[in-house]
Amino acid sequence: MRKITIDPMTRIEGHLKIEVVLDEKDIIVDARSSGVLYRGIELILKGRDPRDAARLTQRVCGVCPVPHGTASAFSLDAAFGISDKIPDNGRILRNLILGSEYVHNHILHFYHLSSLDYVDMAKASEYKENDFDRLKQFIQRGYLAPFVPRYEGDYRLRDEDNKALALHYLHALEMRRKAHEMLSLFGGRTPIQAGIVAGGVTCEPTTDKIVSFLWRVNELRDFIVNAYLPDVERIARAYSDCFEIGVGCKRLLSFGFFDLDGSEPDYQKRKRLMKQGSTDNSLVYKQLDVSRISESVRHSWYTDDGMPNVEKEGAYSFIKSPRYDGSAHEVGPLARILISYAYGDENVKEELDGVLQRLSVGIEAMFSLMGRHIARAVEAKLIADALAEWVLKLKPGEPAYIPYEMPSEAEGVGLVDAPRGCLGHWIGIQNGLIANYSIISPTTWNASPKDDSENHGPIEQALIGTKVRDPENPFEVVRVVRSFDPCLACAVHMFGSHGRKLGEAKLIA
C-alpha cells in the first residue's frame, strides 16, 4: 500500500487536495477529495438587501460568475413573484450572457486547464516551422515556468498533433478572451458581469450590439469546429486508454439551462435547450425532482447545524455531500449531453453520434475521462450555434426588464446548470432582508466526500480502480480529476442542516 497526496491540485479553480491509496499493483483502492478553502459567503449574505445577492454571489466564483448571478436573479424573480413575467428580451439576453460564459469556460478548460497533461510544449524547441519561433525564443531563455515543473513521461501525441495543440493553446488564449468580450456587450464587463438583475437585464439591446455579437460568436463557432473539436479527437485517438478510466458513478443529474420560453414559473419544468432531469448508464430519461436532494456532512468540517468546525473527527473536507435519491450523481457537460441524448434531443444525438463514429467508439465509452472532454466540446458547439440564432431574436426598442414590488417576507429558488453542472440558489427573505441563503453548486456534487452511508463522491469513485502506471508521475490521477473541471470556490458552500430535504423549500413563489 502506498499513498499519493496531490496538494495543491493545480489547473482547476481553487484549493483542492487529492489523496489516493494504491495497492501493490498500483491500482487505486481508496481516494479522498478535500476542499481546503472556506469563506462562509452564505453567512456574509445574511441581513443584506436581497437584490445584492445577484451581485455578491457572483463572487462565489470568478471563473463562472454568470451562473451564480443568473441562479440568484432566478431565485429573486421567484421570491418577487415575477419568474414568469420576464420580458423576452430579458430572457434572451440572460441566455446570451450565460452562453458566452459557457464558451469561454469550455475553451479555457480544455486548452489551459487540461491539455498540458497531454501536450508536450517543450517539444516546440525541435519544430522548424516559423509558427514556433516565439515559443522557441521563450524556451531558449531557459526559464520554463509556468510549463515546468510538470509530470514527465507519458506525452504520446504524434508530432503533427502535438504541433497543432501547442499552437492552439496560444490561439485559444485569444479566443477565450474574445468570448468574454462578447459577453461584456450585454453584460457590461466581465468577469463578474453587471447586467443580469432581478426582473431581467439592465441594458436594452441595440442593433449595433446585435451585429457585433453575431460576428463575434461566428468567429468562435469557427474556432470550435476547426480547432476545439478536432483537437479533442486528436487526444482521444492518441490516449485511447482514457476511454477506459475515470468512469465514475454512472448516475447523472442536470438542472438544464437556456430557457427557450419564460412562461412556466417552475424552473424544473421550463422548456430548456439542455434538458433538466437524470439518467444513468441505461440512458433512460427521468424527470427532475429536486425534492429528492439531500445532504450529508458526516465527513465535512461542519457541525450538524452547518457551522464550520475544523476539529471534527473523521472529516476531511469543507465540501458537503449532496445526494440525489440517496446516491452520488455526476453533474456537468457529460450529464447534460447524455441526459439530453436520453431525452431524444435530435441536435445532441447528431453531434455526439458524429464524434463517436469518427472515433469508432460506442455511446457507453462516454462514461469515462475522455467522454467528459467530448461532451464539453460538443456542448460548446451546440451552445455557440444557438447563440447565433438567439441574438437575432432580440427586439431593439422593447424592454429587457420588468419592475416589481419587493415583498418583506418571501422565499425563492433559482435553478440553472452552470458550465460545471447543477446550481441552485435558495433565498429566504424576512423583514425585507436576507434571512437565509443557500447555494448548492456543481463541484459540491462532483468533489464531495463520502456520505452517511460511506459512499464516495463522484470524483473519488472515478479514481478508485484506476491503475497508476508511474506513481512518481501520476498522470492518470490528474487527468481523471481535471476531466471534471473542478471549481472549489464554488464547491464549498452551505446548504442546509444535516439531512435536510430540499423539498422543504418552496420551489416557486
Binding site: 497526496t5 496531490i6 496538494d7 495543491p8 491540485m9 493545480t10 479553480e13 481553487g14 484549493h15 481546503v36 478553502l37 472556506y38 469563506r39 462562509g40 459567503i41 456574509i44 443584506r48 437584490r51 445584492d52 463572487r59 466564483c61 470568478g62 471563473v63 479555457l108 486547464l113 510544449m121 526559464y143 515556468a145 509556468p146 510549463f147 515546468v148 515543473p149 510538470r150 509530470y151 496560444l170 488564449l173 477565450r176 468574454h180 468580450e181 461584456s184 456587450l185 450585454f186 453584460g187 457590461g188 464587463r189 466581465t190 468577469p191 463578474i192 453587471a194 426582473g199 439592465t202 436594452e204 464550520p308 475544523v310 424592454p399 429587457a400 426588464y401 419592475p403 490528474v478 470556490a489
Partner: protein, 304 residues
C-alpha cells in the same frame, strides 16, 4: 545581444474566487500570451514561477518551488497576492500544500513570501482591503495582505490594485511600471497605496451620464436614460478610470450597460456600499474616514 532580465513572480491565491486571475487573462495589449512568453518591457520578462490556475505541475514539487524562490531570489521577486488572508482558527480556513504530512495554512506562505519579496502587489479588493470574505460578519477572520503584513511586522512595500475584479490594465500597468521605473514613488500613489495613474479620478467626474446628474435627470428603473444615482450608483464614492478605459478592450463597462457602479474598488466594498441598489445617504459622507491601520473606509459616528 544583452541577456533578458527575468523578473521572478509568485502569484499566491488565498480566499479568492479566481476572478482576478481570469480578468488578467483578458488583457488585450499586451495579450496574456505576450505576458507569459515575451518580454513585457524591452529586455524584461516575467518569470511566472507559481500560479495555481495556470502552472503545469501539481503537489509537493510546486510547494518546494515556493521556498526555492525565496532562497534563490531574496528581495528580488514580486509577490502577487490574490484573495484575502483567513487568519481565524490558526489559518485553517485556507490551506495550500503539506509539510511533513501536515497542511500548511495559506497565511504562513503569505508571511514567508511577503517577508522575502522585493514588493507585494495586492491584486483585487480582497487582497487590498479584505473584500467580500471580510464582509460582515467576517466568518474566517479574513484580512487584506497589507493589514496582515502590518500585524506580522513585515515591512516589504505593498501596492494595492483593487477592483472586484481589477481591470487587467491596472495590474499589467503596475507591473510594467515596476519593471521600467522601479517601485512607484510616494507621489505616484494615493493615500491608500493605489497608483494615481489608474485610481486618481472619481468615476462620477468622468461619467458619461454626468450631464444627467447636473441637470437633475434621474433614472428610476433599469433601462431608462438618466443618472443612476437613485438606483444606487456609487460612482461618486469610487475612484477608478473605468469610464475612460472601460472594460474588455473598451467594449463596455457597468454604467454604459445601465448598471449602477457598486463601488468595487473601494475599501468599503461590500459593507459600506450595501445596499447596492439604494442611494447612499449623503448625510453620512462627512462621517467617513480612512482607518490608518486597516486602510478601510469607516464611519466616525455610525450612530447617526
Amino acid at each position: 545581444m544583452e541577456r533578458t532580465v527575468e523578473i521572478p513572480v509568485v502569484w499566491l491565491q488565498g480566499a479568492t474566487c479566481t476572478g482576478c486571475s481570469i480578468s488578467v487573462l483578458n488583457s488585450v495589449r499586451p495579450s496574456i500570451a505576450n505576458v507569459l512568453l515575451d518580454e513585457l518591457a524591452p529586455g524584461k520578462h516575467i518569470n511566472l514561477r507559481f500560479h495555481m490556475t495556470l502552472m503545469a505541475g501539481s503537489g509537493e514539487p510546486i510547494i518546494e518551488l515556493l521556498s526555492e524562490t525565496r532562497e534563490a531570489f531574496p528581495k528580488s521577486y514580486l509577490l502577487v497576492m490574490e484573495g484575502a488572508i483567513p487568519t481565524a482558527d490558526r489559518g485553517l480556513y485556507c490551506m495550500v500544500g503539506e509539510r511533513g504530512g501536515k497542511p500548511i495554512p495559506l497565511m504562513e506562505h503569505a508571511y514567508e513570501l511577503a517577508r522575502d519579496a522585493m514588493a507585494v502587489v495586492a491584486l483585487g479588493t480582497c487582497a487590498s482591503f479584505g473584500g467580500i470574505p471580510a464582509g460582515r460578519p467576517n466568518p474566517t477572520g479574513a484580512m487584506s495582505i497589507p493589514e496582515f503584513m502590518r500585524m506580522r511586522n513585515v515591512e516589504t512595500p505593498a501596492i494595492r490594485v483593487p477592483g472586484c475584479p481589477p481591470n487587467p490594465d491596472w495590474f499589467i500597468g503596475t507591473c510594467a511600471y515596476i519593471m521600467l521605473h522601479g517601485l512607484p514613488k510616494p507621489q505616484e500613489l494615493d493615500e491608500l497605496g493605489r497608483m494615481k495613474l489608474f485610481y486618481g479620478k472619481l468615476i462620477h467626474d468622468n461619467c458619461p451620464r454626468r450631464g444627467y446628474f447636473d441637470t437633475g435627470r434621474m433614472a428610476h428603473r433599469f433601462g431608462q436614460d438618466g443618472c443612476l444615482y437613485e438606483l444606487g450608483c456609487k460612482g461618486y464614492l469610487t475612484f477608478s478610470d473605468c469610464p475612460l478605459r472601460k472594460w474588455n478592450g473598451g467594449i463596455n463597462w457597468c454604467i454604459d450597460n445601465g448598471h449602477p457602479c457598486i463601488g468595487c474598488c473601494e475599501p468599503g466594498f461590500p459593507d459600506l456600499m450595501s445596499p447596492l441598489y439604494e442611494r447612499f445617504f449623503e448625510e453620512r459622507l462627512p462621517h467617513l474616514t480612512i482607518d490608518e491601520v486597516s486602510g478601510k473606509l469607516r464611519f466616525t459616528n455610525p450612530a447617526q
